[in-house]
């Protein structure tokens, strides 16, 4: 059914060739994911080792959540820096990037909070 025009499909395949992601995207994303997994795991592990019945230790999940949120914050700040770097070096640009970063941070925090 879809084989009506093999030449045209070849053309489409050429036009829509896969696009390699920029090397810095791969590095940035990998380091963000590593931060999230390692830091949150450390906190959770420490929490699990502590006495679960002691209400004083119930604050540990909150600490792990904050660590996860921090990783998210690091990501949005990196993004803000990149955006500010890519735009004209004006105060407006920096302010706009900062405002976007705050909005991004709020969104990341809501996602993390809503999921646990």
């Amino acid at each position: 059914m879809t084989e009506a025009a093999p030449n045209f499909e070849g053309l489409l395949r050429e036009a829509l060739a896969p696009v390699e992601p920029p090397a810095d995207l791969a590095e940035r994303l990998e380091s963000t994911l590593t931060s999230i997994t390692e830091m949150a795991a450390d906190e959770l592990e420490a929490w699990e080792l502590s006495a679960m019945r002691d209400p004083r230790n119930w604050a540990r999940p909150a600490a792990a959540l904050l660590v996860g949120t921090s990783a998210g914050a690091a990501l949005v700040l990196l993004r803000a820096r990149r955006r500010a770097h890519g735009s004209p070096a004006s105060l407006d640009g920096v302010r706009e990037a900062a405002e976007r970063a705050v909005a991004d941070l709020g969104r990341e925090a809501r996602k993390l909070l809503g999921d646990r």
Binding site: M1, T2, A4, A5, F8, E9, L11, L12, R13, E14, A15, L16, A17, P18, V19, E20, P21, P22, L25, A26, R28, L29, E30, T32, L33, I36, T37, A41, L44, G72, L75, R79, G86, E108, K111, L112, D115
Partner: protein
């Protein structure tokens, strides 16, 4: 099955997620790039896709029944892209930066002969309705088969086959008009 998956240690899950990320970074980025039309938004979309995928990875593994997770990843990117447009109330504002893509993929002689036609095809893809454009991106940029595309779009295999057929026909008409 689901019992086994739920008992996986976190380190193993993280390792499996890392494998998934490495295997499909290019797929997600390619989809994002052709979907949103510029590298900056494509990078953001790719980052958000993998962060969201990480948060739901364990459940996705449990529910996948051993099927590949690429359609799930692309569906996340698809939903995020839809949100992006809803938030900004806009379609892609710039045409795909085909200079970069075409230069990377073709020799100079091929560029001189085929560049116009390929550019027309890319322009035509941008004119298609969203679902048809997405189906073509998945089929031709990512090499997904009908079943994978159906899962990513939440449609039946039959409906997906028809969708792709119609998308190709419509694109041919646009390009040859």
């Amino acid at each position: 099955m689901s019992e086994q998956a739920s008992q996986k240690p976190k380190a193993q899950l993280d390792k499996e997620f890392s494998d998934l990320y490495r295997a499909h970074l290019r797929d997600v980025y390619s989809y994002a790039y052709y979907r949103v039309g510029d590298h900056h938004d494509a990078e953001d979309l790719t980052e958000q896709t993998f962060l969201q995928a990480y948060r739901h990875f364990e459940r996705a593994q449990r529910e996948s029944d051993g099927r590949p997770l690429r359609p799930w990843l692309i569906r996340i990117a698809h939903n995020l892209a839809a949100n992006l447009y809803r938030d900004r109330s806009r379609k892609p504002v710039s045409p795909i930066d085909d200079t970069t893509t075409l230069t990377a993929m073709h020799t100079t002689e091929q560029l001189v002969e085929g560049r116009d036609e390929l550019s027309r095809v890319l322009d035509g893809v941008q004119q298609l309705p969203d679902d048809r454009r997405e189906a073509l991106i998945m089929r031709f940029a990512l090499g997904m088969d009908n079943r994978e595309i159906a899962r990513a779009l939440g449609r039946s295999d039959g409906a997906t086959k028809v969708l792709i057929h119609r998308a190709i026909k419509q694109l041919e008409e646009i390009v040859h008009d």
